[in-house]
Symmetry: C2
Subunit: 526 residues, 2 copies
């Protein structure tokens, strides 16, 4: 498949005329051909109008039709073969093995949502029988969830496949019955075009209305703001910086009709090393921590950016082992020059804060966008008095906090902002302390994990990739895992609606074979 710098607007390939931009190879800084045309306002409107006009038809496709559509996209991505991996590797600097793994994850996501759609539990089908003899009579009432409307999706820089054009937000929105307009991330334009064409073809192959999917290319924030402001758009999925997410939240709140924004933004993913666990195996813990920290040049939203432990010999052992492990880590190419610049200046800023000591660094960078890993140290008091230490430094940088006692550790737990994850390392001897931390951690994070590291987010039914602000804009949802579909639906009640006008999921004879709540009881299909 050829990359030709065009956007996907419904079934058309459109060359944007508002300027051009080229992808950049972050390992060399060189531009990559071809030039991509930038969208004008007219193309934003066109994509949104198409999405709006496709909505009523698309949202009422059968569960099976939507499941097959998602599977067709998954197969189409695989069918692209090495051309996709080649281009993604060139644009992102990520190793091929990682990208092949990410492609598998992307297909798994699409297939998980195909299963979620076929199961139909997300419809929340609920029936209350009429009670004509009650005073007053109760009417026949039936509830299902319907799709919210067209969704704007902003791809993430750090997952060019799994959280981009056909990533989690797109998959869950399409699964729910929402048309999607993607704004491609500038860090992987060619990758985006390849995947967008796969979805475009799947739309045609599945005989769906063309407006079900479009992908726009734009520089800076203008096109994004314009997309979120468009009246046809009814929800937003975003993965990126806190600043970018908050800007979209503001735009969405200021619309005539405010709409939900699901922004996954910023998290430093605290790791609590409880005394028993630390004493037990500080060296192995340190190695596993450094591996997690430096994986993928630290470019994960679940990167362990904060580690807390009690002072003492085991802590010192951990520090020494972590410093040693870090020294051995080669500098890996970051995704873009901008991300690299933000990382290096973030580390410099951190090192200049009073009370922060730079403990160790990884191997020196050998190319322009390579990131030298970094480990810093401060005491709990410094952390508690310095709000800036809670700011995410996107990349392989982490801060160790030395606490003088348990109370300080609890106090920090109370003071940290909302997080995607919080990790606890504990042996059986630590469980009393862990128990006292749990209520605090539950209030702070979307995922609490024990005796592991937070990088690696399973795509499954019980996953939550979410959490209180500023980790996300909406703690009531997740952007990874089966429940992500719930973000894009809303309930509608049908009162005394004639049988031939009822949606199939609410018909008396349960033709879809759904688990339904009937008169308050959950009934399994026969």
């Amino acid at each position: 498949m050829q990359i030709n710098g065009k956007m996907v607007i419904g079934q058309h390939a459109v060359l944007g005329m508002a300027g051009t931009v080229r992808a950049i190879d972050p390992s060399t800084g060189a531009e990559i051909e071809p030039a991509f045309g930038l969208a004008s306002e007219a193309e934003v409107q066109q994509a949104c109008a198409l999405a709006e006009s496709a909505f009523d038809i698309y949202r009422e496709t059968t569960l099976e039709q939507r499941a097959v559509f998602l599977e067709t996209i998954a197969n189409g991505i695989m069918d692209l073969g090495p051309v996709l991996i080649d281009r993604a590797a060139q644009e992102t600097g990520l190793p091929r093995a990682r990208l092949e793994g990410e492609r598998g994850r992307t297909m798994n996501q699409l297939r998980l949502f195909a299963k979620v759609v076929r199961d139909g539990r997300y419809l929340s089908a609920t029936l209350d029988s009429a009670l004509p003899d009650r005073a007053p009579p109760r009417p026949d009432l039936r509830l299902r969830k319907i799709a919210l409307g067209p969704v704007a999706v902003f791809g993430a820089s750090n997952f060019p496949l799994a959280f981009s054009v056909a990533g989690g937000d797109t998959a869950s929105a399409l699964a729910a019955g929402c048309p999607v307009v993607v704004k491609a991330h500038g860090a992987h334009l060619g990758t985006s075009e390849l995947v967008a064409k796969v979805i475009q073809k799947a739309v045609a192959d599945c005989a769906l209305p063309e407006g079900v999917f479009s992908m726009l290319i734009g520089e800076g924030r203008h096109i994004g703001q314009s997309l979120v402001s468009n009246a046809a758009i009814k929800a937003v999925g975003f993965t990126g910086s806190r600043q970018g997410g908050v800007a979209l939240m503001r735009t969405a709140a200021q619309r005539h009709e405010p709409i939900p924004v699901y922004a996954e933004m910023s998290s430093i993913n605290p790791v609590f090393l409880l005394p028993g666990a630390l004493a037990n195996n500080s060296a192995a813990l340190a190695q596993a921590f450094v591996d997690s920290l430096t994986m993928g040049a630290g470019q994960f939203c679940t990167n362990p950016g904060l580690v807390l432990a009690l002072q003492g010999k085991p802590f010192q052992d951990f520090v020494d082992a972590a410093a040693h492990a870090l020294h051995a880590k080669t500098a890996a190419t970051m995704l873009t020059p901008g991300i690299h610049h933000a990382y290096t200046s973030g580390v410099v800023r951190l090192s200049e804060i009073d009370g922060v000591e730079m403990l160790a660094q990884g191997q020196h960078a050998t190319s322009g966008c390579a990131a030298q890993a970094s480990l810093a140290l401060c005491d709990a008091k410094t952390f508690l008095n310095t709000p800036a230490l809670q700011e995410e430094i996107f990349g392989p940088s982490s801060l160790l906090i030395m606490c003088s006692d348990i109370e300080q550790m609890q106090c920090i737990a109370e003071q940290i902002e909302g997080q995607l994850t919080v990790t606890v390392h504990a042996t059986a001897a630590d469980h009393a302390l862990a128990k006292s931390l749990m209520p605090i951690l539950e209030r702070k994070a979307g995922r609490i994990l024990f005796n592991g590291f937070p990088t690696g987010v399973e795509v499954s039914h019980a996953m939550v990739h979410g959490g209180p602000f500023p980790a996300t804009s909406d703690s009531r949802s997740t952007s990874v895992g089966a429940s992500a579909i719930d973000r894009f639906v809303r309930p509608v009640c049908y009162q005394e609606v004639p049988a031939d006008l009822l949606p199939a999921c609410l018909s008396d004879n349960n033709p879809l074979g759904l688990a339904r709540v009937v008169d308050g009881d959950l009934l399994m299909p026969r």
Copy 2:
């Protein structure tokens, strides 16, 4: 039980010192004793701090404990006996029979949420087994929903019991495990105090932390804004005007940590009279419509404020019959002088719009706050060209729209703003037309009902009292019915959490006997 003008702050009765206010009898305009003390900023902070400190304990009470707590409140309200009905009737001008019915509804709501809590389905318990042999291994993952945090509730004027201090928002938030701070509605201060004391006593009787419930009294918007701005508050439930709701949405969005606002605001509840239904029985339809319009002085958020039909003889018959029925309606006392003033000036404004004809009015008002019902008419073109005609006039006023053809009716359906309800009157002959309207109506409303009128909102599992903006601030939820609990929870994932630290609902042996999703399949308890 004595009414003494005090607020409920935890287990204390506190006389606000920031001024005084008295309740008003709307049928006479006379003030009612005693004086109520107004909250200062300090009391807002005190109530919020208590709620925050109660949160971790309250949210981890057992399902049975919370169910019993809700039932204790229900019983306590009933035990107040006639003193509650007397005071509510005096403060609101509502008939005793209506208030007794509303008291029943209030208790039913509390009992419904007791059942919802006992069922535990709202926890969304989900388990994914560890797959240690997979590459990479899958960890053990378990999801449950936990309470969001303390909730601020703003009572509605028009349901002094069912949507006020112990109303739907309070019941669903308490059910979810959220402490509640209510701002009492100034239109029924004594009623509020009586009910607040019942909840306060239930908190003590159930041995819950005192911060689980507080009720503040404040004038104007200051106390409300201060409550919503308080960092301890994590969600807001509101029923009232669009202006009031939008102000709270803005405050909540501007917080350091933005929080969800569930505001039920404004709806004109369009009624589509399709040709077959209209021809079939225009006189009976007109009588039922006028009964719905004037019930409770039209002070329902589901009041039918807009009626659409095709021009012709059946429409004329409907108009004549409706006018006749309206003439017979006596003017009923409205809830407050302010509501009465807004109603009468709204009707005057409506009558002055070009193209709007006043068709009929009810009996003249005999007392200060009594509302003369009103019916106006315009053609579809006027409606389509006059956005002001979509503004809610709270009270017994409705606007008939005469459409010249089906296309005009569909065009209006497309142009109306978000609604709580949309009603269709249809015979079998109308089903083709109804089918063409359904997709539009689904996009516009939270509830679609056939061959009835929208007033009367059943409290059950399948009810949706919600809808797109401006009907509510968040179409993804309902404020009436079992699913209202979903507004006040968020998911948390537990990864490899040791068995003794897991919440009971996620334990291997399913001690709570919940329906749970295990490895993607919904399993019923044995």
